[in-house]
């Protein structure tokens, strides 16, 4: 699948509603946006404004109730969940606020997981290399419980980049960390993203981190503020 016109993500007339206690609640309305390949974009806004919902829809973790999402040229909002899953395995990496490491696996195994799932032959070696790159070569065989928050997030970053994704989604990557650790993790994330040349879409409260991205999208009460069609649109 090729990337059409250098556009990694294209969102058209996207809307999302949920049923909550019998009432329809609109989470997102009339969202149109376009993100170029290699671009880094921060989505900012207040709590409950719809940032995380938008991120989930862009990544194909859920499908919108109206409109469409294209990810790397694929109409993922029209696909079944399994099709989206396979698409994600090949192209997408994730970083979460709460790290989402499997507690029963070691750091090395957590990083190996997506590689194994994509049948990468040198999974162990690659996981080893990337953990070395994030400065955790001494912590390979520790389980998440034995790691600090900053270390856990570095493992999560290593896992996200291990499978060479073309697009990386990050949900409040520094949200659970103290200022200094958050800073270090943010540096690492931005540096790796530049090295790997991936497209980055990040939800954050951290204005400073948002400012380090190529573009900031502000969302308020489910509506994207200003033009979000980006450079390539």
């Amino acid at each position: 699948m090729s990337v059409v016109n250098g556009t990694m993500i294209k969102v058209t007339d996207l809307g999302h509603q949920v049923q909550l206690s019998g009432e329809r609640l609109t989470l997102l309305r009339d969202v149109n946006l376009s993100i170029a390949t290699g671009e880094s974009v921060a989505i900012v806004g207040k709590s409950g404004s719809g940032k995380t919902t938008l991120l989930g829809l862009l990544a194909g973790l859920d499908v919108p109730t109206s409109g469409s999402v294209e990810l790397a040229g694929a109409p993922i909002s029209r696909w079944s969940e399994d099709q989206r899953a396979i698409h994600r395995a090949n192209r997408v990496g994730f970083i979460f606020q709460s790290f989402q490491l499997l507690p029963s696996l070691t750091a090395l195994e957590n990083v190996m997981l997506p590689l194994e799932l994509s049948h990468v032959r040198q999974a162990r070696q690659e996981a080893h290399d990337i953990l070395d790159r994030v400065g955790l070569s001494q912590r390979l065989h520790h389980t998440p419980r034995q790691l600090s928050g900053g270390e856990q997030q570095r493992v999560a970053i290593a896992r996200a980049f291990a499978s060479h994704p073309s697009v990386l989604f990050a949900d409040e990557p520094t949200g659970n960390l103290d200022a200094e650790t958050g800073h270090q993790v943010a540096d690492l994330l931005m540096a790796l993203n530049r090295e790997k040349g991936a497209t980055l879409v990040m939800v954050t409260h951290d204005e400073e981190l948002a400012a380090r991205c190529d573009r900031q999208l502000r969302i308020e009460a489910g509506v994207l503020q200003g033009s979000a069609m980006g450079a390539t649109a």
């Binding site: 991120l55 899953a85 698409h87 499997l102 696996l105 949900d171």
Partner: protein
Amino acid sequence: MSGLTTFWWLSRRDWRQRDVRVVLASLVVAVAAVATISLFADHLRQTLLSSATQFLAADRQLSGSRPLPQEFLQEAEERGLESGQIISFSTMLYGSDGQQLVQAKGVSDDYPLAGEIEIQRRPDGPRERVTRPPPPGEIWLNARLLPMLDLSMGDSVEMGEHRLKVTAILVREPDAGFNMAALSPRTLMHISDVEKTGVVQPGSRVRYKQLYSGDEAQLESFHQWLEPQLDESQRWRTVRDGQPAIADALDRAERFLLLGGSLAVLLAAVAVAVASRQYALGQRDTVALLKTLGLPGRTISRFFIARLGLWGLIGTVAGLLLALPAYMALAAVTNRFLDQPVSWSVSPGAIWPALVTALVALFAFAYPPIHRLRRVPAMQVLRSQPGESGSAARLDMLIAVVGIFALLWFYGGEIWLVVALLLALVALLLAFALLSALFMALLRPIRGGGQAWRLALVALYRHRRASLSQMAVFAMTLMLAATLFLMRTALLEDWQAQLPEDAPNHFLINIASDQVDSVESFLGEREISATALYPMVRGRLTHINDEPVREAVSKDEEVNALNRELNLTWLEELPADNRLRAGEWWQEGNSDGVSVEAELFEELGLSLGDELRFRIGGLDLSAEVRNVREVQWDSMRPNFYMAFSPGTLEEFSATWITSFYMEDSDKGVLNDLTRAFPTVSVLELDQFIERIRGIVGQVTTAVEALLVMILISAVLVMAAVVSATLGDRQREGALLRTLGARRQLLVRSTMLEFAALGAIAGLLGVMAAEVAVWSLQYRLFEGRFVWHGSLWLTLPVLSALVLSLFGRWQLGTVLNVSPMLLMRRLEG
């Protein structure tokens, strides 16, 4: 799945998760309990059969009124079975002074194939047990024959045309049993001497028997080969056919083990279901993550099924490894009570139930919630999504109930067991729904405060979902344990009642009508309390409603009572150990009525009001069936199939019969008795009763051991259930401590909370157990139902106590570790 390796290295760390450990532990306990019980049940069956085969002198017996084909014995030999022969008949035995009708028995060299013959070499000599019959030319006699015929050891006696030398007193042969039809003194000789006597002529009344012993499977296949060749006069007998008292004890024991096994299956299923549900709930985040990382739902599904398979394998192997030593220990306990211990063996048939239990427990109970994990939305990684709906849980419950009862059906094949437990379960659920709604309504208005009991009740309400599901499982567990406990108590009481310490162990028969008073005063003078004296007339049933009995009764029914003369009696009042099932007992002045024993009544297909015609000593007598009696055959009191209204049998000459209890040390009285009443026969049943007691004793031990095992499993199940919410409880405890709750307050409120849970569960459990016992008693154990008042108090108290200890245990770490450390640990 991206390959076996991914699966392997994801799963090999599973045991690090507590939920997985709980599922595995439940599974191991399930397999271990079921396997131990079925192995032990199998062992017990072998043990009991081998004790009981002594009563047949072999494992199987074929008998007939004509000589049995020798090919049968040859075939048995070719199949590797042991065999032997018996010919028995009545004949006159002549001594130096007089003659006596005796029951003669000629046996082959191998007799007895099972059990021992007890003899005395001299009248005052010690009792010896031997396993060989007398050699050709010798005869062993019942002790009473020596004074009757004025004989000493070494004297010769004449039977027909043959002389035999008396070499021992025959105290007991294994297959003598307890047969009131055989009234004359018994003798034992070699089979080769029978022909030489010349007394067995065509037309004589003779019983021919062939004995077979060997491997159970070979015996069965031999029987299959034999069966088509048997004619109407030939009968194949197993231990069960031989002795109602033993068959009854065996049946009850087997049913009890079956019940115990079924309850173990149920407990196991509950434990696995609870643990796996908890596990599935805990896996939602992992599944969402795997989806995010690109694993399709169906792959995730396959992955979890493979995991279940792996656990099944591990659980089964570990369970079996635990079951083997447990079984051997139990077998050792029962073997201590045996003369000839049965070596332990593991039959594949006994392993099956455990494997099927593991399989069903995993796939009927663990699979549904785990299978649904594939539907967890990937969005769950970003934001907690709504959990499972109630309808999914209800469906799980339905699948679980169907699974459980399919399993019980497979395990026991006893529809009444399934129905009884189902009834109890329905009662439990109804009462649970009612009581829980009431309880929660009462709790709702209570507000928290500084007191432990307030905190406890508020906590109960706050955790109501967990509290209610735990309460349901506790109640079910307690119901199962209480059911087994009550059944065991009823069983033991029944046995005790059947064979009390002073159960009659001697019978006097052949008492002439003019001796009745003097026999009574003879016994009275020696302070021997005998049962009433019953008159006895021997006669044959010939017609039912003027139709010959052979035509009236279906050919398929093999009614033993039709093949021989029956002991008929008359009764003024219903004996204490009989129970009237239908019809009315006669009033004074009613005549020409007959009361029929319930089983025979059914076998003959009779109805009240039918006319029965009997042939007694060449005369005919008709009587109308007025009522039906249930008779407790193993009460060791004289009992009769046919009892007439007083006066009906007046014109026929009767002999009288009575029974009494006598200690071994008073045996000398018997000699006085035979001297005073030479024509009266004494039937000594003390040895026989001792042996039945021995068997019942073994079964009792087994039953107790089984109960202990089930109770242990029940406690384990409850521990599994409690530990399912361990994480939440500890988190809450840590939080409360952080907020300043004192240690003492936390301990008290938690213990109170669990005690309340336990008390209600105990109440529900005992109620449902009563329902189960009520239906089981009626159908499976044919006993009478009584309420168990004391259990209504003890079970709730006991379960409140045990559960409050569980609560204390749950709190353990919360109290000893700093709240901060604990919170951190629980986050990980």
